[in-house]
């Protein structure tokens, strides 16, 4: 088991290097630092001196890969690639446009992001599994039919509508909770309710339909027929046998998104003014802060790869037939 995990971790390294090279190519080769400087400083009244100063301040004035002028080890290390890309591997993300340390900013913003994403994830999973199980229990009835119709309609609605409509109805008309904002400590719960509820509701359509097919696949298996044949009541067949077996593909399927919960949700956080990583990313995109976007790309991929490894491990844990190979 340990050897397997170590092997999987080693396999992640070339992937991370690939991600790093792609982002590096996107941010420094497709567009030169000169272009970025012009963008940041405004296209008008930009002098070559100002561009040069901007590049020196951020360390973008160095060569891309090989610094021939510097001797010895500095040939490789005193370059943009090493300073800006390779250093991400040790958690050094440099500074944002406003001069703040990106790594510190990220660790501070993780908590609000998680405060929204984790309850949304757990509650959403519970609600959709319950709903899907009910639909599967009443399969091939009018209830099932209209439930599926509802799911298709729900997944055809834009995610923006759920947020805008929910904010308008619950916060503005009914005045149940604040429209947006975030508080410190325990006081934050008033701000959390609305985004969590909207997050759960907007996810119902597609996941319920997906889980329902998983349940229905399980229903037609042989062991279910055996369970019925030996006279078990339908409720026991469902909750003791089908639910447990169907939970395996459902849970192993969602493991991959768990690490990504740290990233927060772009839309929810920007609409509700939550100071998490999602709104950090959106602000960076709007301000064209390349350093922050680059860091977020890197962190996102690291989290996704962790998710992949966790998925593999969870598969082997729940299904003994899969060997560690």
């Amino acid at each position: 088991m340990l050897a397997y995990i170590v092997r999987r971790l080693l396999y992640a390294i070339p992937i991370l290097i690939g991600v790093n090279l792609i982002t590096f190519a996107l941010f420094f080769v497709v567009n030169t630092p000169d272009d970025m400087a012009r963008m940041q400083l405004g296209v008008k009244r930009v002098t070559p001196e100002a561009i040069e100063k901007w590049k020196v301040e951020r360390g973008y004035d160095k060569p891309l890969f090989v610094n021939a002028a510097a001797g010895g080890l500095d040939t490789v290390t005193d370059t943009i690639f090493f300073e800006k890309s390779a250093r991400m591997f040790v958690g050094d993300f440099g500074r944002a446009e406003d001069g703040r340390d990106i790594a510190r900013e990220i660790s501070a913003r993780m908590v609000p992001s998680l405060a929204i994403a984790l309850p949304t994830f757990i509650l959403g999973l519970f609600v959709t599994i319950t709903f899907a199980l009910t639909l599967a229990f009443f399969r091939a009835t009018a209830f099932d039919f209209w439930g599926v119709v509802l799911c298709v309609a729900a997944m055809s609605i834009s995610g923006l509508f759920y947020i805008i409509g929910g904010q308008y109805l619950i916060a503005k008309i009914w005045r149940l909770v604040p429209i947006s904002g975030f508080g410190d400590g325990l006081d934050a719960w008033r701000f959390l309710i609305l985004p969590v509820v909207i997050g759960v509701v907007s996810g119902i359509g597609s996941s319920t339909r997906w889980y329902r097919t998983i349940f229905l696949e399980e229903v037609s298996k042989d062991y279910v027929r055996t369970a019925r044949a030996k006279g078990l009541p339908e409720t026991i067949v469902f909750f003791r046998h089908i639910l447990r077996n169907a939970l395996i593909p459902i849970l192993t399927g969602v493991v991959v998104v768990i690490p990504l919960l740290f990233m927060g949700s772009l839309l929810t956080e920007s609409f509700f003014g939550i100071p998490g990583l999602g709104s950090y990313t959106i602000d960076a995109i709007n301000a064209q802060d390349f350093a922050v976007v680059r860091s977020m790309v890197f962190i996102g991929s690291v989290l996704y790869i962790i998710g992949l490894i966790l998925t593999d491990i969870s598969y082997t844990l729940v299904d003994p037939r899969i060997r560690f190979s």
Partner: protein, 458 residues
């Protein structure tokens, strides 16, 4: 009548290429009995055909909006003609009143007066603050109290016209398919009853709507006084292009790499798997954001490439499609790789190999046709997701060009309107409703296609 200059945008080329490709695929399908049988099953599916009719209506709007031209400006004779900077489409020409009848600012659907008060000179009363009459909305009415009567009369008159047109169409269908009863009860091979019912709904809504749109702002006007219905019509093309051209970009990559990886295995498989794991591990939104930011820098530093603003917006739209394609081919590729791995072990492939048939010929003749159902299902399933994604991306600021009308930019411009007093709900509601209809139709059609093509579902 002044002359005009045909403008061919890159996206127009792709749209019409797609239409040609669609016709080509249709001919191919007609020659292949298994595919024809599957499409017949789609044709017999009532929900599928109803949604296909609705989709077709959207596509017609999109196609009309994909023929562009520039009007010649009135110049002195002998001087080289100059063309207007504005690029128009055939759709613009058809709905000219909607495009040109702009108010000053917001006005509600069917409103007679503006949303905001203004100071108006009244003879005898001096200056008063009141809601001014709209310049175009309901301007033909002398007395605004007769508005409801006028709307009802126009709607009834044109609705009856639409009903007659529909009856004529239905009569043709009934005549060819064995009588009214057979069509009504669904005894026809093709689900004509669903198509006709949807058509009736579309005609009965659209014909009165457009008849009224000449005199009223049926969906109201937005902040700068532009008609919301016009914006909705223009958004359709953007949504369709995002949904269709993107799949055109991702399809060759996904199919080629997926099959090659599964068929040749070994180091080729390793390389391709590495490639899609790397691309997959970058969060989609961030990769798109990074690529769009970079593209924006390229576009901004080369203003000389574009003759008009429309061309610039068009290139950005295509670039967005390209980026979305790059980020979304991995799922289909993995699916096709897995399926090819299974197929290559089957006896008929091994027999072909034993006969010495070349690998590429085996892939083309034996593997690709057996993967077609997966490709078709993936194509229609992706469409709705892409339309929804466009709205989100445009909201985040990494979608289409802000000057290009799309559901995303409409929502983005209108997002603060619910905070106004009184509430300005119409542009948001119209954008969401139109998007909902398009995506719902696409989802239902995708379900019908999947049911017909997926061998496991049968």
């Amino acid at each position: 009548m002044s002359g005009f200059q045909v403008v061919v945008l890159w996206s127009d080329v792709l749209v019409w290429l797609l239409v040609l490709a669609g016709i080509g695929v249709g001919v191919l399908i007609a020659k292949s009995p298994p595919l024809l049988a599957a499409w017949r099953r789609v044709g017999a599916n009532r929900v599928g055909m109803a949604s296909a009719t609705l989709l077709l209506a959207f596509i017609v709007i999109g196609l009309l909006d994909s023929l562009h031209y520039r009007v010649a400006l009135d110049g002195k004779p002998g001087v080289k003609t100059q063309y207007a900077i504005e690029v128009l489409s055939v759709l613009d020409a058809l709905v000219t009143p909607l495009r040109t009848q702009n108010e000053k600012t917001y006005s509600a659907p069917f409103a007679t007066h503006l949303y905001a008060k203004e100071s108006i000179e009244r003879p005898g009363l001096g200056t008063v603050r009141e809601y001014p009459r709209l310049k175009f909305g309901a301007s033909h009415l002398a007395d605004t109290a007769t508005l409801a009567d006028d709307v009802a009369a126009t709607a009834l008159r044109t609705g009856a016209l639409a009903l007659f047109a529909w009856l004529a169409l239905a009569a043709v269908v009934a005549f060819r398919c064995g009588g009214w009863r057979a069509v009504w009860r669904g005894d026809t091979v093709f689900a004509w009853n669903a198509v006709l019912a949807t058509l009736a709904a579309i005609l009965l809504v659209l014909v009165p709507l457009f008849a009224l749109a000449g005199d009223y702002h049926v969906f109201g006007t937005d902040k700068v006084g532009q008609d919301v219905l016009y914006q909705i019509l223009k958004s359709v093309r953007t949504a369709l292009i995002i949904g269709l051209v993107t799949t055109l970009v991702m399809l060759p990559m996904a199919v080629l790499l997926g099959i090659v990886a599964g068929y040749f295995r070994g180091w080729i498989d390793d390389v391709i798997q590495y490639l899609y794991t790397v691309l997959n591990s970058i969060p989609g939104v961030l990769l798109i954001a990074a690529a769009v930011l970079m593209m924006q820098v390229v576009i901004d530093t080369h203003p000389e490439w574009f003759a008009t603003a429309a061309e610039r917006a068009d290139l950005r739209l295509l670039a967005l499609c390209f980026i979305l394609g790059i980020t979304s081919w991995t799922g289909l590729c993995r699916l096709l790789r897995g399926e090819t791995l299974k197929l290559r072990e089957l006896e008929y492939i091994q027999a072909a190999q034993a006969f010495g048939v070349s690998s590429w010929r085996i892939i083309l003749r034996h593997i690709l046709p057996n993967l077609m159902h997966i490709v078709i299902i993936a194509l229609v399933m992706d469409f709705s997701g892409l339309v929804l994604a466009e709205a989100v991306l445009s909201y985040v600021g990494i979608g289409v060009d802000p000057t290009m009308t799309s559901f995303g930019t409409m929502i983005n411009n209108a997002r603060m309107e619910l905070g106004r007093e009184p509430v300005v709900w119409w542009s948001l509601a119209a954008a969401f409703a139109a998007m909902f209809l398009l995506v719902l139709a696409a989802n239902l059609f995708a379900d019908a296609v999947r049911d017909a093509f997926d061998p496991r579902a049968a």
